[in-house]
């Protein structure tokens, strides 16, 4: 069989688009909610378990449910993917912030930083390695979940896979699966590069020594 590269390229772009947009939204949501939850430790005791339960609902079910209420639109896919992309980032933001050593918080308070300054100058920089770790997980997962877009006719590499499965065409399945896997690898590597860039130098050195 011959591969139509222009179609392939278009599907890769669609897939990439879904992934990038939903990971970006998920990142903003996840970091924001993660920060808010650390400010409400009592609330977080109830919310975090609920979120992990939600996290286990299969993506197929969730996209299906959203489809019922929102219809066959790209927004349906983006909302579903963004919410899934948010989970690992939220969890890691929360973990990263709550595991900042008390001595730094005490020093920050003693220096006269207000809540926002503490967050920006101390807590977020120190939690950054963990947060970016969450972003990496989220990105790789979202590449695979974006296959679900094809389920409600919104394109992406999932098109090849669904067509391949329904027509029992393994080559077509691979034509969707292999680029998706490569996409996950490339995006993962990009996040790793970002990790090196945004993690404070002082923390990297400390980790190398450990």
């Amino acid at each position: 069989m011959t591969i139509d590269f222009s179609v392939l390229f278009q599907k890769v772009l669609e897939h990439l688009g879904f992934t990038l947009v939903s990971v970006s939204i998920g990142f903003v949501l996840g970091v924001t909610l993660g920060i808010l939850l650390t400010r409400a430790p009592k609330l977080s005791k109830y919310i975090l378990p609920v979120l992990s339960v939600l996290n286990t609902i299969p993506g197929v079910v969730f996209v299906g449910l959203l489809f019922l209420s929102l219809g066959m639109r790209p927004a349906t896919v983006l909302i579903a993917l963004s919410i899934y992309a948010m989970f690992p980032i939220l969890k890691n933001t929360f973990t990263g912030l709550t595991s900042v050593d008390a001595q730094y918080l005490e020093a920050a308070r003693g220096c006269g930083m207000d809540h926002f300054q503490r967050l920006m100058m101390v807590e977020l920089p120190l939690a950054m390695p963990t947060i970016i770790g969450g972003l990496r997980m989220s990105t790789v997962y979202t590449v695979s979940w974006a296959v679900l877009a094809a389920m409600i006719g919104q394109g992406g590499l999932g098109d090849f896979i669904y067509q391949g499965v329904s027509s029992n065409n393994n080559a077509l399945i691979l034509q969707g699966a292999i680029p998706a896997a490569l996409l996950a690898l490339v995006l993962g590597a990009l996040v790793d590069a970002l990790q090196r860039h945004v993690v404070p130098k002082g923390l990297r050195k400390g980790r190398d020594e450990a």
Binding site: C111, G112, M113, L126
Partner: protein, 370 residues
């Protein structure tokens, strides 16, 4: 400078601080000490409003701190903690400049400020300013911790057991540096420790706390001389020496139980006594036990065959002192006379003991090292 007025704090029905009243003068090095849980750290943290009292007022430079914005207040009070807490994501220079940044100092001032501060602790700017805390030793980290507290020139610096996590050598040198810095910069220091030696070395005034109360507030010398309670005395422990060196008398360090012999006794008895006690000289006394002089084995060997009793052989060229004489005078006499020992006498001229160079050395050692 810093004044506590009826400050109390309870936590869960338990009194943590009980009606504290004290005042610390400007430029004083005030050290809080006491058993753990006595409230010393709590008291310290009230000064920069990390902990709020239930009742009472705290005045800093005449202003009630409850009326000052707490972030603004903390930026004008230095704070050094035991865990050091340098921000690992910032360089040495950035750590030092944290408070100036919060106070919005012009950026151009940062470099000269960092240079000036690093010079105070002998850490060259070129070598250290752009290092990260993880690249420094514990002692260097705490030096930077102190500089961070001093960077915005606060009049008051709070120090919560700042040196207790350091090894003894490093601790010692940081204590000395801190004392010098404090005197040079004329800072008021509020310092918490559980180490009495540290308190005695650094403090202008020591505040001893127990169970949320101030047990004693006094200068180190005063506390050593008059500990208020048994507990304070225990804390002072080995640092509390006996009488001051100036008050020592000959009786305090002379050797007692000295072998004497009556001047009428025979040569033979005298020699056997020397053999028995393994000495070469005896102190000679009369019937009333009054000191007469000394007799030495050398004189007995030389002329012992012509006399029956030791009376004629007695020499009185050994210097004598009285038991109540000042110790220092005795030492001076011992050294200037060239005699191997001094004889110490009571008022009635009976023998009290002798002072040798060995007893002098051990007395001095005891004064020095306890």
């Amino acid at each position: 400078m810093l004044q506590f007025e009826h400050v109390s704090l309870s936590y869960g029905g338990q009194k943590i601080l009980n009606d504290l009243n004290f005042e610390i003068q400007e430029g004083q090095f005030a050290v809080f000490i006491g058993p753990s849980g006595c409230g010393k750290t709590t008291t310290l943290k009230m000064v920069n409003r990390l902990i709020q009292p239930d009742s009472g007022h705290i005045y800093l430079s005449g202003k009630d701190i409850a009326a000052v914005d707490r972030y603004e207040l903390r930026r004008h009070i230095g704070y050094v903690i035991q865990q050091i807490g340098l921000f690992p994501n910032m360089t040495v220079a950035q750590n030092i400049c944290v408070v100036p940044r919060l106070l919005k100092y012009p950026k151009e001032k940062y470099e000269s400020l960092v240079r000036e501060l690093l010079a105070m602790v002998d850490m060259p700017y070129e070598k250290y300013a752009h290092k990260y805390p993880s690249e420094l030793s514990g002692g260097q980290q705490q030096r930077i911790g102190i500089l961070r507290a001093l960077a915005a020139s606060p009049p008051v610096v709070l120090m919560d057991e700042p040196f207790s996590a350091l090894d003894p050598m490093t601790r010692r040198s940081l204590q000395l540096e801190m004392k010098n810095l404090q005197q040079k910069l004329n800072k008021t220091i509020i310092f918490v420790t559980h180490d009495m030696e540290e308190a005695l070395d650094l403090a202008d005034v020591i505040i001893f706390m127990n169970k949320g109360n101030i047990v004693q507030m006094a200068a180190p010398e005063e506390m050593l001389a008059n500990p208020a309670t048994e507990q304070v005395r225990e804390f002072l422990g080995k640092h509390q020496s006996g009488p001051a060196p100036a008050d020592l008398t000959a009786a305090d360090f002379m050797r007692t139980g000295i072998v004497t012999v009556n001047q009428n006794r025979g040569i033979h008895e005298c020699v056997s006594r020397m053999q028995h006690h393994n000495v070469d000289t005896l102190l000679v006394v009369d019937e009333n036990k009054c000191y007469q002089g000394t007799v030495s084995i050398a004189d007995i060997r030389l002329t012992g065959h012509v006399v029956k009793s030791i009376g004629p052989l007695v020499r009185d060229n050994t210097p004598t002192v009285m038991a109540g004489d000042n110790a220092k005078d005795c030492f001076d006499l011992l050294i200037s006379s060239g005699s191997p020992y001094l004889v110490v006498l009571y008022e009635d001229r009976t023998v009290a003991g002798i002072i040798t160079k060995t007893s002098m050395a051990s007395a001095m050692a005891e004064q020095l090292w306890g």
